[in-house]
Symmetry: C2
Subunit: 402 residues, 2 copies
Amino acid sequence: MKRGVYMNKNKVVRLAVVGGGRGGTFSKVLSNLADKAQLVAVCDHDEAVLDRWKDEFPEVRSYDNYERLLDDGQVDAVFLATPLFIHARQAIQALQAGKHVISEVIAITTLDEGWELIETVEKTGLTYMMAENYCFMRPNMMIENMVQHGLFGDLVHVEGGYIHDIRNLTHYPDGKLTWRGNLLKSYRGNTYPTHSLGPVAKWLDLHRNGEDQFESLTTFVSEGLAGQIYYKELFGKEHPGAGPDHWKQGDSAVTLIRTKKGKLITLRYDIQSARPHNMTHYALQGTKGAYLSPRHHNEDPLIWLEGRSPGISSDGSAEWETLWNYADEWEHPLWQSWGSVAEQAGHGGGDFSGFPSAATDCTDSGNTELHMTESYTSTVGWVPSRIADTNSCRTIRRFLEW
Amino acid sequence: MKRGVYMNKNKVVRLAVVGGGRGGTFSKVLSNLADKAQLVAVCDHDEAVLDRWKDEFPEVRSYDNYERLLDDGQVDAVFLATPLFIHARQAIQALQAGKHVISEVIAITTLDEGWELIETVEKTGLTYMMAENYCFMRPNMMIENMVQHGLFGDLVHVEGGYIHDIRNLTHYPDGKLTWRGNLLKSYRGNTYPTHSLGPVAKWLDLHRNGEDQFESLTTFVSEGLAGQIYYKELFGKEHPGAGPDHWKQGDSAVTLIRTKKGKLITLRYDIQSARPHNMTHYALQGTKGAYLSPRHHNEDPLIWLEGRSPGISSDGSAEWETLWNYADEWEHPLWQSWGSVAEQAGHGGGDFSGFPSAATDCTDSGNTELHMTESYTSTVGWVPSRIADTNSCRTIRRFLEW
């Protein structure tokens, strides 16, 4: 076990950010975690990005080559904020070089990559965390806490939705496709499911204690029109994206999953349609109550709990109340500790709240299983994209081996 | 063609209600339609129900036998407000006796019944209407009007949800099951899909002009816990319903449908789970805008239309606005004519608004195709329940023949 080989004596994790564009947004977060993690290096292939880092953080070492970063013995862990297609390869390389890994989603894009990543984590004994930040948003954590204390009874149905028009992030100013554009061009299905699946998978305690796991799933995809319209308007009808056959992805995808214990999961994914964004649609139905996220940022999350909330279900008198009525009693312990700091970070606190947990896990002896199972969730989350074209529905036997 | 054989000269339809319990709620509606329809008879097997009708409507003839009602030459049309398992049989009998038919949902419960009903309508030339009242609710009609005028562009995804804990309607006071109880006991799947499917099928113009129709569908069903809990609490653990294997139905079912043109439909069905009701969840996504129904009765339906509503989709600034901002411009013509009367009826006006259309159709020469195709929608809506147990997903080839 190489665990902790490069660990600093005072247990502050020396962290390198890989992908300086997006990764830069986390530097503010880290300044609040000085006793747990220290930003010591950055890696990016773009000289202009590195120059900005040098100006802002002159004490941070900069690398334009990933292999040379991994040779830096004064780096304990890497934070991968790179395009999703290279996450798995970079994570495996880092683990092999003795570094702990925090990876942004999606963790892997093929099952083979998934197995290789899992085996590398197990062989090295290092910590790997898939940084699914939406699990760490305040309402999602509060619901998780209430589920664990049985307030909703047994869960039967959960929903997650990631609806977020990012057509303007799919191309460079000259019309060339970014990695997000290539994702739409080359894949069809629910290709980015972890933001919607992550929190509800935690509520269901899936793939963690071995009691429940995916049994069968299907993904249906609509026709794709939004990409054509957008590219035709912006770049003219000569742009390949303005044609009818350029984009493999459709505008909306919906995935249904049934678990071995009979829980039902509905996930919606749409990153092209014209509308107000809703990246954080969630719902939960249990035998003793229900939860429903807001439709937009000016609404409250709603909850109804049998015997506590107003009215009776079976006679039609039940009335929702705001989730915040339960904040004093059921705020997640992690949010109680870090909430005021997390609220300054992005994605509803999610960009922050995972860090204390990850940093603790890299320094203390302890449970790597937690984060490993989150990478499992990512793996199976990716699978729907592989079967969407046929609209087929089958038991993914491989899940049973896990 | 027997059409109009029994028609009254002044074109007022002489209507008989079949099923005096629920059917009685429509008598108020009919009083507002005196120039179009007249309630002349009622049929029920329960003497107590008939006695109440005699007290309240002494001029209405009462029958305790359906065949004798059908022999009444002074009845032009029957309104079937009976348990769903007998709708198709009663409709076919009435048509064969020369009566027009308005049937509550579900219209049919097997494909064989569906074909027999269709053939009987075509042979007799009489009018058959499936009274899917949710199509006639105010916001659903306004959205239909806006869709038809292209305000949402091309539709790509629609949602319908019928979430309505009616466990207290599944049994008599002594614990014996009602027909609703037997539906839960004997069938598994999305067994009552027309309230959620009806309005969105109209928005998509499905199975009407021949341009688009269902291509493939699947239904996933959760485990069933709510029935056991309810029956155990109310009747004790000796009641068969308190046992784990009594109910074939699960608590929540979700159906995915893809049409030939690539439109995606998501339907949710739950009539047992403990929570505030939401019988009218609807959503729509088009290439130029989106619609989202309220979560409860104190919220507005929300709309966003490109170029009209605030903000831009692709830069994240788009903001919902209330649908009622568009009422002056886009109120459905039928609601403009009848809205003030319809608001006094049940189900958000839906219990009323279908009647003027149906009454007109029974008296004027004209289009029976409209209502026939609505019975098609019902037919295919029922199909998911037949395939839910296997979680299988396949093309229902029979749709293609229609």
